[in-house]
Amino acid sequence: MSRQSVSNINEPRVPFLRIARRHATPRRQAWLIRTVGLLAALFTGSLLILALGHNPIAVYLDMVDSAFGSRIGFNETVRIAVPLLGSALAVGLAFKMKFWNIGTEGHILIGGIAATYFALFHYDTLPVPVLLTVMGLAGAAAGGLWGLIPAFFRAKWNTNETLFTLMLNYVAFGFILFLQAGPWRRAGTDFPIIPMFEQAARLPRLFGIHIGWLLILSLTVLVYLYLNRSKQGYQLTVVGQSENTARYAGMNVGRIIMRTMLFSGAIAGFVGFIQVSGANFTLDETTAGGVGFTGITVAWLAHLNPLIMVLVAMFIAMLERGATRIQTTFMIPDAIASLLIGIILFFMLACEFFIHYRLVIRNRKGGH
């Protein structure tokens, strides 16, 4: 009796369930886990729809149909996906460096402001191709400089970039409200509205959608090559893995942080240009409309891979487009899109755990 208790003390207690790291998970198995995760997320979402008194399958099918079932629907989905993909690219660059930039929303707004300046005040002084180029460059430059501010402080004093970039969003937002109410208000109205752009300042169309889709797709390839085939892309990846390693290897970490944020902000600023010139033909407080934040989730779901971001952006765009449709067909408020996106992302995050770790259940005999 006493002997047994002694042996119990000496023997390490093996917990019923323990976690062990997997060293290599085959790709197929990883994708299988993700598929199961997605299905589980959709199942959870369908419980919510069921609770509202609707048939989940009918609702989901209606969402897919609204996004891809017709030419108009498809065009609309692409229009939603363009800024999402653009901001995911911007976020991806920063996140690859583990620079937690949540200021993409503000970069888009600032880029939109810069582009709008030329659209409002120089539309008749420049030839159309030059005007559009100047607008795009101005948007990118303004967004880039706006992105440089938090990067500078992070590089110099390690200032918390998450909150810094976020607070700058509100500053940019306030600035737009100010322009609307005062300096740029449309003549002859009491409403805070900025005038619609003249035809010259609007992006041309290609296959029925403003040409922004082609611009963003080209940018996707560029960012992919930059990350995977350029020295600078390699450097920022190393900084993301370990700042100390980068420093020992002789890299100027501060400079890399600032350069990357300059590019990240520039991409987002360019998205701002596309939004004002291609989608809305004016600047208002909804120019960014949350894509800066949704872009974060797109980037993360795509594992920061620009090519996969294209698919994820289309998927999220489908959800948003579908949410607008089911608002009219099923009377379900369209805020359900954020709920569903949140649920899907929660499950996808949990999936990564099962890809990297496995659960070991205690063996009956007490060994492992």
């Binding site: 323990r18 976690i19 062990a20 790291r21 509202l52 937690w100 949540i102 402080f153 004093w157 390690n158 200032t159 918390n160 998450t162 909150l163 810094f164 976020l166 607070m167 700058l168 509100y170 500053v171 937002f173 306030g174 600035f175 409200l177 100010f178 109410a181 005062g182 934040f293 949704t294 974060i296 989730t297 993360w300 009377m331 379900i332 408020p333 805020a335 359900i336 899109a337 954020s338 709920l339 569903l340 996106i341 949140g342 649920i343 992302l345 929660f346 995050l349 949990a350 990564e352 755990f353 770790y357």
Partner: protein
Amino acid sequence: MDTFINFFNAAVLAGTPLLFGTLGELLTEKSGNLNLGVEGMMFMGAISGLAAVFLLELGFGFEMSGGLAVLIAILFAFLAGALGALIFSILVVSFRTQQNVTGLILTIFGIGFGNFFGEFLGRFAPGHAVTISGLAREGFSGLHIPVLSDIPVLGPLLFQYNILVYLAIGIAIVMAIFLNRTRFGLNLRAVGESPATADAASINVTRYKYLATCIGGGICGIGGMYVSMITTGGAWVHNSIQGLGWISVALVIFATWSPSRALLGALVFGALSIMRFYLPLGIPMQIYDTFPYIATILVLIVTSIRQSKEHSPPGLLGVNYFREER
């Protein structure tokens, strides 16, 4: 003098939701978890506290007394905030996900949660908006404490607020005592500073992280309910939280992880957000409204430049603890 009293009152009322958010996030961060989902949890608390009173009144067809409405709203707002924090804890503590990203997703989820149910439940209301009755609303109006409230100057300055203001201050005091004067508080701080050391001292790291994060989330939820019950007067307003949760996250840094300094921070930021009504300065209104955010940025910069040991964040804030990978 009257202007000052009015200004001070308005600052306290505007600062209280920030105080709830700050205290909730402070407790969370003491456990080493950096939960960026405060905004989301406040949305969840805002709609849940409001909807609980609304649905009970609608379902039973009566007007709830003020005191009961306050209790029910606090309970459900706390539970909703804690539910959001529980999702965060499961993912971060048990599934070891990246904390920043998980918090951001919680924010997206929470905003969707609030706006979705706010709009959906509004359809059942006579006025097509989730509102509570006038009788229930009285529970959230300024108190009249015998004797104290009647003292000249001090009375209106300190003793005529709604009950949630005093609840927030009470939580701050209790939290300060808990963190600095109790064994559990010491254990919690140890978990945030160095989970491996705490683990070796046989403190249950997982349990502390879960509890601190969930209770913290619940407190954030009450802050959200403050907005839907008091700021918007007991009616659901789309997107009503509007960044208060994010300012709260920044205020934790401003308060350098101390509940008593959180009181000061919330008051200062409350004052900043209403200052334009009392001190026009000739600046356009829209620019004036960005002052709290600019002030937050300045706080971030200043605290990062002069980093001191005493005022630094918990040692392993934002880093997940894997016992197997020590």
